[in-house]
Symmetry: C2
Subunit: 114 residues, 2 copies
């Protein structure tokens, strides 16, 4: 059990971000795999701007980091974030979302950029 003391306001901000199915699932996925935007678009069946906007909120808080690789921008969880242990604790209790990535591979979409 962690013993971090978290500020209430910070905690509220983080929980609000995680309290969205798309973002929570994205975080769970990105906890294990770097993802480019187009993969996430495929997975969640929403528009590309919708994904970008979710990523922006996560990035604005520093919860994820981006890294350009040529044409693509890959996102991953920022494990150096002050509250990463807190977030990790939550993500660890969620079921693996590896099936979603597997579905992409089978469908051939993931290969397109990774």
């Amino acid at each position: 059990m962690l013993k971090t003391t978290m500020k209430i306001d910070d905690t509220v901000t983080i929980l609000k971000l995680l309290g969205d199915k798309t973002r929570l699932t994205m975080m769970k996925i990105m906890d294990h795999y770097d993802c480019c935007v187009c993969e996430l678009v495929e997975i969640f069946k929403v528009s590309q701007p919708a994904i970008s906007q979710h990523l922006r909120k996560l990035r604005d808080l520093g919860l994820v980091k981006e890294e350009r690789r040529g044409q693509w921008i890959f996102y991953s969880i920022n494990k150096t974030h002050e509250y990463y242990p807190f977030i990790e604790q939550i993500l660890q209790q969620l079921p693996s979302q590896a099936d979603k990535l597997k579905a992409l591979e089978e469908q051939g979409t993931r290969i397109s950029c990774c």
Copy 2:
């Protein structure tokens, strides 16, 4: 570290409820003290219906339970809830809100009903 596996949808619902400063603070307080509605109204400086509506959302999910004691209705955390360990894990990392109750006592408001 807990190893519970939580459904994504359930987790989202809970995090959404906790992602509100009033509700998160209420939960932290109720984790240690039974509270009647009027106390919470005093603490949060919002209208009584606002508090009742927050409590209803928490109660609808079973996260808190109510108990009438005469004229008052006391709310407390439902420690038998399937996901209570998950919630407790979050609450434990928050700073104590005991000062808010102490302020009530000094102000004489808490005594009125407890």
